[in-house]
């Protein structure tokens, strides 16, 4: 909610991270797709890729959390993740119970959410 100028903060960082690409090949990524890494980043790995790999090496991490922890916009994190996924260095656990557009969540999912909320 606080629009600010990306360029003023760090002029070329986002361009460098993305290579200026409009590249959307690779897995479909949701804000809550869970990312699982496969190991440590080898030497020479670009810092943003290394940051992602370090964050998801031991536990799954959502795209939104990676964005927050790495202080990168969501769409930039997605580009980094697509690169890593294509290289087989991360796997994506998609939100399989998310309802398709114009459909309600299924009853079993709702039941599990209700149980989880009651246990809060």
């Amino acid at each position: 909610m606080n629009p600010r100028d990306v360029g003023r903060e760090d002029p070329d960082r986002l361009f460098i991270v993305t290579g200026g690409r409009a590249d959307t090949d690779g897995p479909v990524l949701d804000l809550v797709s869970l990312i699982v890494g496969g190991g440590a980043a080898p030497p020479g790995t670009p810092s943003e890729q290394a940051g992602v790999l370090a964050r998801c090496r031991d536990f799954p991490v959502s795209v939104a959390e990676l964005s927050a922890h790495l202080d990168l916009p969501v769409s930039v994190v997605k580009i980094v993740l697509r690169d890593l996924a294509r290289e087989g260095r991360v796997t994506v656990r998609p939100p399989v119970s998310a309802p398709p557009r114009d459909q309600l969540p299924d009853l079993e999912t709702l039941r599990q959410v209700l149980v989880g909320l009651h246990d809060l």
Binding site: P3, R4, T18, G20, L34, P73, S75, P100, P105, V113
Partner: protein, 206 residues
């Protein structure tokens, strides 16, 4: 922004994340509500908004030096070994429309958080949710009451008056909450999930 509390990891078995969106005007208490129920301190992330309003999945916007970013907050609740629920606080104003598909796509549903002193802030969000067919409930955040010497006209309006002012369809639940309190926010989320469940059985929906 990073702290030890924020580093509480997901379970290694987590594989099925869900979303609920809490939408409302500036200062209505979205982040407060997220923080009240989240197992991590609310995190803030951002997305790029260009002046041209380019869609968020067009990464060429990234190279636009005129791009600005919009921050939004979120938290999470582990439901069981596999499922985790993310709560996103979404700004309700029209200029943030570009975020909406990303936030609402695949979400279970939404909570429209309302401040009765600024009901008009909710009109656009409610209109868009109805238009998109995203199921939602409305929760009135009851801020601490008016000062003892406040004139009667300033007293908080009843739920019936809020419903009328928002022109809410009868099937949309309207509840009260205190966004600062965990049990109250938990109750709102349960109300939403029960509403979603009831929509599976339209013949019994009031």
């Amino acid at each position: 922004m990073t702290s030890d509390r924020n580093d509480v990891p997901l379970r290694s078995t987590a594989r099925d994340a869900l979303k609920i969106v809490i939408v409302g005007g500036f200062g209505v208490g979205k982040t407060t509500m997220v923080g009240a129920v989240s197992e991590i301190r609310p995190l803030s992330t951002e997305e790029i908004m260009t002046r041209a309003g380019v869609g968020i999945d067009d990464p060429s916007a990234v190279a636009d030096k005129n791009a600005t970013t919009v921050a939004f907050d979120f938290g999470r609740i582990t439901l069981n070994d596999e499922k985790v629920l993310y709560l996103f606080g979404a700004p309700g104003q029209q200029r943030f429309w570009f975020l909406w598909d990303q936030l609402f796509g695949g979400s279970l549903g939404a909570v429209v958080l309302v401040d009765t002193r600024r009901l008009a802030d909710s009109f656009y969000a409610i209109d868009r949710l109805e238009h998109h067919g995203t199921p939602f409930i409305v929760a009135v955040n009851r801020f601490p009451g008016p000062a003892p010497d406040a004139p009667p006209a300033r007293a908080a309006p009843s739920l019936a008056r809020v419903r009328a002012a928002l022109d809410l369809p009868p099937g949309v639940p309207l509840v009260e909450c205190d966004a600062r309190l965990r049990p109250s926010c938990k109750s709102v989320l349960i109300d939403l999930v029960q509403h979603l469940t009831s929509l599976h059985f339209p013949e019994t929906t009031p």
